[in-house]
Structure formats: structure tokens, C-alpha cells
């Protein structure tokens, strides 16, 4: 996919949200490939390239992780903590994309080094706006971390 071969990993258990966010990405015409996993364990497998995700051609390391908080098997917080503890993954930008506005969740996410915390808007237009901002900031403006370790 050449220069545009950016990948976003979307960790989301709600298939409706998956569809809606995918649609929003389409609407904004984000030049990135979205990979979706449905629970925390799958996210770990994807990021570490284990189980069915060992093919890095088809499942490349993402430039951005969109992470829901409430997930089956492993919560978003657990996934975030795990990412920040892995030498090869710890600098990947992680954006929480969740329904929870609870201060305890927000603070915990920042404590663990999240890059941004977004609350899913109920309104679809709001979601589109949010995806636009995401695209502009994280995929276009933001300088991504280098590929070298440490």
C-alpha cells in the first residue's frame, strides 16, 4: 500500500460500534486500513503477532490503537497497561474510544500513559467530526515514533 499503508487497530466488542466507526472512517476518507478485534485478548494476540495474527503482511503493527474500555476477557485498561510494558509496542499511540465519562476511568487511562481519551458521541455527526480530528491529528500532523527500539 506504499506510503499510505498506515494501519489502525480498532479494539471494540460492539459490532454496531465497529460498523458505525468504520462508516465514519469511510465518510472522512481516512487513508488507513482498519483492523478490528473484538476483545482484549485478541488485541494482545494481534499486537504480539501470535495465534492467527502471525502474518505481519496482512496484520501489520498499527500506527494507532483505538481502544474501548469495556471489553470481554481483558479490559481496555489491561490492554493499555500491557502495551506500555512491551519494549516493541510501548510507544504506539493509544487513544481510548469509549462510552465512559467516569473520572476514575479517565484518570486511570492517563496514569497508564494513554495518548488521548475520547468519549463516543451518541450523535453520528459528532462521531464523524471526531474521526476527522483523529485523522488530522494522529495520522497527518503527528510525528510517529521511530521504528528502532529504545
Amino acid at each position: 500500500m506504499g506510503n499510505n499503508a498506515l494501519t489502525i487497530l480498532h479494539v471494540e466488542d460492539d459490532p454496531n460500534d465497529v460498523l458505525l466507526i468504520a462508516r465514519a472512517f469511510r465518510k472522512v476518507e481516512v487513508a488507513a486500513r482498519i483492523q478490528v478485534v473484538n476483545d482484549g485478548e485478541q488485541a494482545l494476540h494481534y499486537l504480539s503477532g501470535s495465534n492467527s495474527f502471525s502474518d505481519r503482511e496482512n496484520f501489520p503493527l498499527p500506527s494507532l490503537v483505538l481502544l474501548d474500555l469495556k471489553l470481554p476477557r481483558k479490559s481496555g485498561i489491561e490492554v493499555l497497561e500491557w502495551i506500555r510494558s512491551r519494549p516493541g509496542l510501548k510507544r504506539i499511540p493509544v487513544v481510548m474510544l469509549t462510552s465512559s465519562k467516569q473520572a476514575v476511568d479517565i484518570n486511570r487511562a492517563y496514569d497508564l500513559g494513554v495518548n488521548a481519551y475520547l468519549v463516543k458521541p451518541v450523535n453520528f455527526d459528532g462521531l464523524v467530526d471526531m474521526v476527522k480530528t483523529l485523522d488530522a491529528f494522529w495520522l497527518r500532523s503527528n510525528e510517529r515514533p521511530g521504528a528502532t527500539r529504545d
Binding site: D14, N16, L20, K70, P72, K120, F124, D125
Partner: protein, 552 residues
């Protein structure tokens, strides 16, 4: 007889004038002066008396004179004499007769008598005189030195005798004083002991003396009053035998400490009563190692212990209440969390897909449009279910659940009938092995619990085999455990606890639809009815959920 010699002694000392002091202890006596003793001179001739007196003056003693035997006897009645010089030949009562009368009186039977006699009569008189108790003879005419020295011997003898008598008297007095003191002390001691015994007898505490082997040697009556055992029964076995088996090791340890030299110990333990109940006693014990005895003061502290236990149980209740409140609080948190998270998601879907429908398929509702529409419907359904379950759960947390005896067999049979459609569709088999079992439960809640468990067992079936579900009962102590066993997909051990929490799910709702409330409701319901719930499971092989409820 030579009267001429006798006439040498003329004047007499008047007998009444003679000093009568016998003890010489009078305070006005010159300290330098020795005690004077009395010497009695008896002669009918004044000249002889005078001569004797003159000779004996040198001895510096009291000399008393008597002119006849009668007068001599009179003096002897009043006065004690160290020695008597007695003229043998006197008119009337002669010397021998006088001597024999003197000897007859006990007070004077040992008073030394020296006979004074003339030379010519000596032989006959000497033998008679000795037979009458004379100690010596003086022949007249007298030789002053001989007379003086002989009398001096008796004076000295008398003085010594008196001294010995006085010493004996002093000793006797000392002994008497000592004896009186001992007697007083003994009486005092007896009185003290009586008082002490009164304390011992009247004490409300239990007092006892025990030996080092733990046997009671002496007990006050409070023991019997408190425990019901007689004194003999309590003495018949070592103390630890009466102590509650749980407290006995501690008591034996205390006794060892006392034997090893601890000064005092305090110990609380339950002591057996005659009626086999137990009373709490608090013991203070002090050892007397020399006598190998232990002095024990024990007090009935049963009431205090009961109060302490009450306080403890109240404290435990309080803690439990606090825990319950904490639990409710955390559930409320989970509840509000779910409102902000789970409940908003379907709303969002409805909105999102409705938007998509209008935006993209507004003019023509083709297949996709219909699908979007379908999704709105299913999301609405889901939200409905979610809200319903949440309401159920919160109701279960708050409502008073009145328990009654519920027949398990009836409930399970009804449930199977209700679920028969679902069972058929899934090609499942549901067996019940709960014959004749009754539990104490709130019927509606029990029905909901069983329904949730059996529905789960049907739902989480293994893709490779039709579900087989078995509802079994197992009698436990005062409880019944109801097992709902399946051959489904099972649950990994690390998730077994998590699944009972509110909104916890192991699978996406796509794979296994549900609200994540069902099992939380099962556990909450069981707990609200005084029971508990849990699961034993092997991943890929099946699960065995259980609910334990009090037996009816």
C-alpha cells in the same frame, strides 16, 4: 553441867527488836551491806546469851535471843533463821524437846540446830541430840573462834540457799512470763486464724489451695455454690480434668509456669459444672514452691464473657452490615457505570444506523436498508432486555424476600415445560434429579435463578454436540445444593469468579447474546435467600453451576 560457864552470858537482846527482814531486798538497805540473816540463840541464862551474842556480833548478822524453848518456837513461827543455837539443859522444855518440836514443823524441819551443852554431859547428850536432827555441837565453855566459824558456815549456807531459792523464783517468774506470752500469742493466732477462716468461708471468690499435681487440697464453699460439685468431688480429680478441653492445654501450661518459678499467673478458662454446663472462671494463682502448693483465687466471669461474646457478635454484625453496605455501594457504582457505558451503546446504534438509513438509503429501502432497519430493531430489543435485567437485579438487591418451603421438583418440572420450545429447537435434553427435595426460598427468585442457569446451560452449548443439562440436588448439612450441569463450552478457571459479577461477559453478544446480568442475578438472589452460588467448570467440557439454599 557447868552453870558458871553459862552465867557468862548476861543480858539478852529483846527479841521483839530483832530485825525480821528475810529477803534483804529492801530498797533502803545499803548496797555495800550484804543481806543479813537471822541467828536464833536459845538459853535460859541471860549471861550465856550475852556471851554468845558478843561472840557472834563479829559475824555482823541479826542475832535473835530466846530465853526458853517456847519463846524460841514463837520466833520460829514468824521468822526464818539461818541457824539455831540451842541450849540443851533448860528448865521446863529442854533443848531436845524444843528441837523435836522444831523438826516437826515443815518450815523448820531443815533449819540447822547446833546444841550447846556442857562437857560433862556431852557423851550421852551428843548421841541423843544427833538423833533429834542436830547438825553440830558446841561444848561450853565455848571457844569463840570455833563458835563463830561454825555459825559462819551455816550463815553462808543459808545465804547460798536463799540465793538459789531466789534464782529459782526468778526463773520461775521468767518462765511464767514466757508461758503467758506464748499463751497470749496462741490465743491471738487462733483468733486471727478464725477471722481468716471466716474470710475464706465467706469470700464470694473461689479460694483454694492445690498441690503441684493440680489436686485441690482445700476449698471454700463458693466452689460448690458456683459449680455444683461437692468439695470431695472437686478434690477427687486434678483441676485440669474439670476444664473445657479447648482451655485445658492453656491451663496446664500455666501450671507448668508456676512450677517453673513464675510468681503469679492469670488464666481464663471454662470449668465444668455438675450439670455438665461450663462456667468461665478467671484464675489468679501464686505458687509456694517450698511447700509445693499453689494458692488459687478464682472468680466467676461467665457474665462478663457472655457480654464480651455479645459485643463480639454485635461487632461482627456491624462489620457484616458495613460489608453489605460496601457491597451495595460497589454495585451501585457498577450500575451507574453501566448506565454510562452499556446503556448508551445501543442508543448510539439506533441513532447511528437510523442516520445511515436516512443518509444512504433514504430513497430506496433495499436489502442493506432493511438490514440497518433490522439492526435498529435488535438494538432496541437488546436495550429493552438490558433494562429489564437491570431492573430485576436492582429489585433483587433491595426487596424483602419472604422465604417459604418450596418443592424443587415442581419448580424444575414447570421450568422444563416453559423452556420446552427452546429445548426442542436446540435438540437438547434436560434431566431433573431433585425428587422430594424442599428448600427454604422465595419462589419467584428461585424460579428466576433456575431459569437463568438452565438457559445459560442451553445457550453456551458446544458447537459439536447437542446440549445435555442435568438439574441435581445434593443434601448438605442444613442446606441443599442444586447443581445445573451441562456439556457445553465450559469456562476457563481464571474466569469462573468474574462471570458472577454484574455486566461481566466472556463472549461478544454476537456469539452468545445476553446482557451480562444473568449470573450476577443468580448469585445475588442466592445470597439474599441466605445461600450462595458458584461454578465448577472445565473449559471445552462443560460447566457445573450450583446454588446452595437452606433446607426447608
Amino acid at each position: 553441867m557447868n552453870p558458871g560457864n553459862n552465867r557468862l552470858f548476861g543480858t539478852t537482846h529483846p527479841p521483839g527488836r530483832a530485825p525480821l527482814s528475810r529477803t534483804g531486798m529492801s530498797s533502803d538497805c545499803d548496797a555495800a551491806n550484804e543481806e543479813k540473816v537471822n541467828i536464833l540463840l536459845v538459853d535460859d541464862r541471860p549471861d550465856k546469851l550475852l556471851a554468845l551474842q558478843a561472840v557472834l556480833n563479829d559475824l555482823n548478822q541479826n542475832v535473835v535471843v530466846a530465853k526458853s524453848g517456847k519463846e524460841a518456837l514463837r520466833h520460829l513461827l514468824q521468822t526464818e533463821f539461818a541457824v539455831i543455837l540451842l541450849d540443851v539443859s533448860m528448865p521446863g522444855m529442854d533443848g531436845f524437846e524444843t528441837a523435836s518440836l522444831i523438826r516437826k514443823r515443815p518450815a523448820t524441819e531443815h533449819t540447822p540446830i547446833i546444841f550447846v551443852t556442857s562437857l560433862n554431859q556431852s557423851e550421852n547428850q551428843v548421841s541423843r541430840g544427833y538423833s533429834l536432827g542436830a547438825v553440830d555441837y558446841i561444848l561450853s565453855p565455848i571457844i569463840p573462834q570455833v563458835l563463830r566459824s561454825k555459825v559462819a558456815v551455816f550463815v553462808e549456807l543459808h545465804k547460798r540457799t536463799n540465793e538459789i531459792k531466789r534464782q529459782a523464783e526468778r526463773l520461775r517468774q521468767l518462765e511464767e512470763t514466757a508461758f503467758k506470752r506464748q499463751l497470749t500469742e496462741a490465743v491471738d493466732r487462733l483468733e486471727m486464724e478464725t477471722k481468716r477462716n471466716r474470710f475464706f468461708t465467706l469470700s464470694l471468690d473461689m479460694l483454694a489451695i492445690a498441690d503441684f499435681d493440680g489436686y485441690m487440697l482445700q476449698l471454700n464453699p463458693t466452689w460448690e455454690k458456683t459449680l455444683g460439685f461437692s468439695e470431695d468431688e472437686l478434690k477427687s480429680r486434678p483441676g485440669p480434668d474439670f476444664v473445657h478441653s479447648e482451655d485445658r492445654p492453656a491451663m496446664i501450661e500455666q501450671m507448668e509456669r508456676l512450677r517453673d518459678g513464675a510468681s503469679t499467673t492469670y488464666f481464663e478458662g471454662r470449668y465444668r459444672c455438675k450439670d455438665n454446663s461450663f462456667r468461665w472462671l478467671g484464675w489468679t494463682a501464686a505458687p509456694f514452691p517450698a511447700e509445693r502448693l499453689i494458692y488459687i483465687f478464682a472468680r466467676d466471669i461467665t457474665q462478663r464473657k457472655i457480654n464480651e461474646q455479645k459485643i463480639e457478635s454485635l461487632n461482627a454484625q456491624l462489620k457484616q452490615r458495613v460489608q453489605e453496605l460496601t457491597d451495595i455501594n460497589s454495585e451501585l457504582e457498577a450500575f451507574s457505570y453501566s448506565i454510562s457505558h452499556d446503556l448508551r451503546a445501543p442508543l448510539r446504534s439506533m441513532q447511528g444506523f437510523a442516520d445511515a438509513l436516512l443518509d444512504e438509503q433514504g430513497d430506496q429501502l433495499d436489502h442493506t436498508g432493511k438490514e440497518y432497519a433490522q439492526r435498529i430493531v435488535s438494538s432496541a430489543k437488546y436495550m429493552d432486555a438490558l433494562l429489564n435485567d437491570l431492573l430485576d437485579y436492582s429489585r433483587l438487591s433491595r426487596a424483602e424476600l419472604e422465604r417459604e418451603s418450596v418443592d424443587l421438583q415442581t419448580e424444575v418440572a414447570e421450568l422444563i415445560t416453559q423452556l420446552s420450545c427452546d429445548i426442542q429447537q436446540r435438540h437438547a435434553a434436560v434431566k431433573a434429579e431433585v425428587n422430594g427435595v424442599k428448600v427454604s426460598a422465595h419462589a419467584g427468585t428461585l424460579r428466576q435463578i433456575l431459569s437463568n442457569l438452565v438457559c445459560n446451560a442451553l445457550k453456551f452449548s458446544h458447537p459439536e454436540r447437542p446440549p445435555i443439562v442435568c438439574v441435581r440436588s445434593e443434601k448438605r448439612e442444613r442446606a441443599v445444593r442444586i447443581w445445573v450441569e451441562d456439556n457445553g463450552i465450559g469456562i476457563a478457571p481464571e474466569h469462573c469468579d468474574r462471570i458472577f459479577r454484574l455486566f461481566e461477559r466472556l463472549h461478544t453478544s454476537q456469539a452468545y447474546p445476553g446482557t451480562g446480568i444473568g449470573l450476577a442475578l443468580v448469585r445475588k438472589g442466592a445470597e439474599r435467600m441466605g445461600g450462595s452460588a458458584g461454578v465448577e467448570s472445565v473449559s471445552e467440557q462443560g460447566s457445573r453451576f450450583w446454588v446452595e439454599l437452606p433446607i426447608a
